[in-house]
């Protein structure tokens, strides 16, 4: 019952971006993948979500090899990506975006219950339910992207830089929601440059630099680590 990456290698054209990444996300935990801009964090998530075929290594979900499956097949196995660019449906309403988040599901009652759940989590989205996604503020768009991901009822949420471009108060709010999401039983692989915010909510963490995992440890240990403090916390 774990999401595991073993020796993942990936890149674009001639560029080797991810060079043998191994990590594990146990069920119901928040695992942070930290590192500077350009380290290969988003590329790693794209591989897990099936948007990019790895050049080597394995992605295993509960032991099943899922690397190379198309994104819709990955989603049906319980992994949902909330990408860095959010990738919302801009002219569709908030409600329609959420509805499409549940595209792979057929259980009407469960979908309705989860819609209530995401509205309880992000009350702002209920107020904006009839508005086109493109008219939302940056923070609201991030909430919608997370909520849309949750509508597939994933066991693992792959979150790429939820703090990007948001004001500090909003970042606080979003990260508090991540703890609530974990309480619902959803594990999170949290990619962040904002190490301080990520380590406050994470259980475990990895530091990626130029495509290689440099450090690994419990969130508390990483937050106390001198190298991490110097490079990312200060």
């Amino acid at each position: 019952m774990t999401l595991e990456l073993a020796g993942i290698e990936a890149g674009y054209g001639g560029a080797r971006v991810v060079q043998g990444v191994s990590l594990a996300v146990p069920p119901g935990r928040i695992v942070a993948l930290l590192g500077p801009n350009g380290a290969g964090k988003s590329t790693t998530l794209r591989v897990v979500a099936g948007l990019l075929r790895p050049r080597g290594g394995e992605v295993r979900l509960d032991g099943e090899r899922i690397a190379g499956l198309p994104p819709d097949a990955v989603l049906r196995r319980g992994l949902a990506l909330v990408p860095e660019r959010r990738e919302l449906f801009p002219s569709l309403s908030v409600a329609e975006n959420l509805d499409l988040g549940a595209y792979a599901r057929r259980d009407r009652a469960g979908i309705a219950a989860d819609l209530e759940m995401v509205f309880a989590l992000f009350p702002r989205l209920r107020e904006r339910r009839t508005q086109p996604a493109r008219t939302l503020s940056g923070g609201e768009q991030q909430m919608l992207a997370i909520a849309r991901g949750l509508m597939s009822r994933p066991r693992y949420l792959l979150l790429d830089e939820p703090s990007l471009g948001l004001a500090p108060l909003l970042i606080e709010e979003i990260f508090r929601k991540l703890v609530e999401i974990r309480a619902h039983g959803t594990a999170i692989l949290l990619v962040e440059q904002n190490a301080a915010a990520a380590l406050r909510v994470a259980d475990h963490g990895y530091v990626l630099e130029t495509g290689i995992i440099r450090l690994e440890g419990s969130a508390a240990a990483l937050a106390a680590d001198d190298a991490v403090r110097d490079a990312y916390l200060r």
Binding site: L51, D72, R85, G101, L136
Partner: protein, 288 residues
């Protein structure tokens, strides 16, 4: 006179609108401009003739056969040609559609001969007058069927799972993929859908003109209508189709019948030069 031009123009306009929809429906999701669409339209009309004359099918069954085979042919193009070409430049795919069109056209010429075939009207072609307007039941049927097909298209996009997946791909292909929609699957559907729209246009148009392998030039009219409509808007494609039909009929009446065809080319070129987004087109949806 003006009213008569409107009434006559909407018949051709309805057909152009269907072909324009065929172009836009496909292009919005795949970015491919299918230059073989006109020839597919011809093929669909021929299948009706083949079903009736050679297989002895009733008219309705022949139409059903044609629609099914047309959809299948569209899906086959996606699976057999476009999917293997994935990753190659868009221009290569577009040239492939030209080749498919030429193959269909010359295949029809070789197998069905260059002579025109008769295709039955849906309703009587005998005109009657109503309030001073000359109306033709067959033409009214063309408009009625075309409008019904358009309504069905919009209802499908709005209310069916099949349609919602298409809209999601129109809005954002990456977003569609990560909510669990198979984007290649939607592309196949779009090829089938575009082919069916062209097929309906071909079956409606065939009795009004003569069915010959070169009927596909009507595809250029549909293309012009789609450009008028901005090439990325479905309502724009419909408006462009009707506008082209009416303007063309007016040019035929007020200038000369020889001018009719020149009008659509002139509109096409004028529109590309002066209004690159068409009359109704909106800017590409901004990514959120």
């Amino acid at each position: 006179m003006l009213a008569q031009i409107l009434v006559s123009g909407v018949t051709a306009g309805a057909v152009y609108a269907l072909v324009a929809l065929g172009f836009v429906v496909l292009h919005r999701g795949t970015r491919v401009v299918h230059f073989g669409l006109g020839d597919q339209l011809t093929l669909s009309a021929y299948i009706v003739v083949i079903g009736q004359v050679f297989l002895g099918l009733p008219f309705a069954a022949a139409i059903l056969l044609s629609l099914l085979l047309s959809a299948g042919f569209g899906v086959l193009i996606e699976r057999g040609v476009m999917r293997p070409l994935r990753g190659s430049p868009l221009l290569v795919m577009i040239i492939a559609t030209l080749a498919i069109g030429a193959a269909v056209r010359e295949g029809l010429r070789a197998s069905m001969g260059p002579l025109p075939w008769p295709v039955p009207f849906l309703l009587s072609p005998a005109p009657f007058t109503l309030g001073g307007l000359v109306l033709v039941p067959a033409n009214l049927a063309v408009v009625g069927v075309a409008l019904a097909v358009m309504l069905a298209l919009f209802a499908m996009l709005r209310w069916t799972r099949f349609g919602r997946a298409i809209v999601a791909v129109y809005e954002n292909p990456t977003g569609a993929a990560i909510v669990g929609i198979s984007v290649p699957g939607v592309h196949a559907r779009l090829w089938g859908l575009s082919s069916v729209l062209a097929a309906v246009a071909g079956i409606l148009m065939a009795p009004l003109i003569t069915l010959s392998p070169d009927m596909g030039t009507i595809g250029i009219k549909g293309f012009a209508a789609a450009i008028l409509g901005g090439f990325n808007s479905l309502p724009g494609a419909i408006a462009g189709g009707f506008l082209l039909g009416i303007v063309e009929t007016g040019a035929g009446v007020y200038v000369s019948t020889a001018m009719k065809d020149i009008v659509s080319y002139a509109l096409l070129i004028g529109c590309v030069l002066l209004l690159p987004r068409g009359l109704f087109g909106t800017a590409e949806a901004r990514k959120v």
